[in-house]
Amino acid sequence: MAAPFELNDDGVVVIIGTGAGGGVLANELAQKGVSVVALEAGGRYLPDDYINDEWESFGQLAWTDARSTSGDWRVARDFPGLPTWIVKAVGGSTVHWAGASLRFQDHEWKTATTYGNIQGASLLDWPIDGAEMAPWYDKAEKKLNVTRTNGQPGLPGNNNFKVLEAGARALGYEEVHTGRMAINSTDSQDRLMCQQTGFCFQGCKWGAKWSSAYTDIEQGEATGNLEVRTKSHAARILHDDTGKVTGVEYFDADGNLQMQAARIVCVAGNSIESPRLLLNSASSMFPDGLANSSGQVGRNYMRHTTGSVYGVFDKPVRMWRGTTMAGIVQDEARHDPSRGFVGGFELETVSVGLPFAAAFLDPGSWGREFTSALDSYENMAGMWIVGEDMPQETNRITLNTELLDQHGLPAADVHYDDHPNDVAMRNYAYDRGSAIYEAVGATRVLPTPPYPSTHNLGTNRMSENPRDGVVNKHGQSHDIANLFVSDGSQFTTGAAENPTLTIVALAIRQAEFISGAMSRGEI
């Protein structure tokens, strides 16, 4: 039973967003007996509701509220109103996500130290490291039932993987396998094993893939300590004249403005909406927005140096069959400046259906060069590049006061310019990816530009020194003790790995910190 809490109950922890960060934090706190109200802007959709159809599913789940873009990234030209591809629903982007679950490499916690001074980059060491995070990663891998951890076998390789694997081995790559995936490779945790349906991005109808929508959220609700309010869009965080936050104003499902009182507020709306909310909460006491004495709220937006390579072969591959992202080459993830850039990248299998291939293979292009590639759709294999991009102060989320959302709130403008390191890495990765497919006979390769961002990071970054960032090593804001950030926007730097396992590990760790501080009466 969901616990109904009163609007004026100022003993509750209010969490904004129920995705990887917020959904896990909500459950972890509820398990510890803490009363939680989770405000979720989207509706609730469960495996029965998910749709094996790319555009229909996008219409059901994706965040399509008004946003704008600027900067020299190609997404701003190709998709000016759609900088990101993320979810507005209970479970957040863990409904769409593909499940790739990798730990950071040790040096990636300390990139300012490791990479040195990179012109134009605002690199900073995390205030935590691999040793500190190891036990939290252990818990996260258990929760997500990640393959190749805790005795779970790897997933079987599908056609798309076999092509990647053969090409990579031909080039001498060694760390090639079907990934560490938050997808059941056995029936376990009351969920089925992967049935190789191939619609991981559209929500797993078998429930084989972990999503907070039908795991953590339901477990939290079962305790009676968690109430999830759907279609509830947080508009502003309120504070008193001592500078402590006191509650959250939100638009409810009927569009009426409500106010939920709070002892603690945790922001977990993804790296676009979290800074937007802090900025939209500006007051006479905090004219630049909440938790923003450093001026860092919204800055250092990262999205990974992405891109894809599709290879066309003379025979069928049928890449869409089976798990979308269960395949990885890890040899290039190391830091090796001799390649002409700092940091590293992973190569992971990816596939899109025909409708998304038409939209994303080379957005805006037309004519036979484009359509002849689609004609070979059945003979295509695909891989995705996930590399560390450089944080830059000027890559940032700002309020676009010219563009209002359906509630009349200023929308987020997402500004991103590629750093020269990002460009060098992407070109190198295109080259390696193409070589992999050519090694197994590709007749044509397509170095495909980045899609709207699925990995959004870093806009409320963690820092040792309050001058350099927004939150401390527990995700607690430097300025306001009872205001936390609990999602990917805490990332100090992005690492080469898909971010969600780290978001989940940080959320589990933060729950421990918050409940401890609450019981000691510190907040």
């Binding site: 969920r191 339901e218 805006g364």
Partner: protein
């Protein structure tokens, strides 16, 4: 009322039988004509017949697939045959015909080679009319379920139990 994440407790067999009960609507899909009759669909209400025929040719020249019949292109642009959209389309096609005449052809449809038609389109590709037609085709053409088999794409797979027993790893030429 909140729905339970019932898939967790069910076996694969139960899920499958439920899925095939719902399968008909999945497989056929709503809103698309399975075997479109081009002659029927090409009849227009608001656009002049020649305008519509030119629009269909333009659609094919933008996204040419020789194994895809006109019927699919007709459906992809049929949505412009409304009182609201027609004037803009008539103007855009008239301009395209004018450009063709400027190069010595009777009209766009009279340009014999695709290469020459594409030259005419390249000249207007930054313009609003071209962009409207091109962007509309991305979903108008490729999101027609009936077109997918022509590309080998199999679409929805849940109702058939995924590919676990249907060839997810059947590649045999590596």
């Amino acid at each position: 009322m909140r729905q339970k994440a019932s898939n967790r407790d069910l076996t694969r067999r139960q899920l499958l039988s439920r899925a095939s009960a719902a399968g008909a609507s999945f497989v056929i899909g709503a809103g698309f004509i399975a075997a479109p009759d081009a002659a029927w669909a090409a009849e227009t209400e608001h656009l002049a017949p020649e305008t519509f025929a030119t629009l269909v040719q333009m659609a094919r020249d933008i996204y040419p697939h020789d194994r895809v019949s006109d019927a699919f292109y007709v459906i992809a642009v049929k949505g412009y045959d409304t009182a609201e959209a027609a004037p803009g389309i008539e103007a855009g096609i008239a301009a395209l015909d004018g450009a063709a005449q400027g190069r010595g052809h009777a009209r766009y449809l009279a340009v014999g080679w695709e290469r020459d038609r594409v030259d005419l389109l390249r000249a207007i590709e930054e313009g609003a009319f071209f962009q409207q037609i091109r962007a509309g085709l991305v979903t108008g053409l490729y999101n027609q379920k009936a077109i997918w088999p022509l590309f080998g794409y199999e679409g929805e797979s849940f109702s058939q139990g995924g590919y676990i027993d249907r060839g997810f790893n059947d590649i045999n030429w590596l």
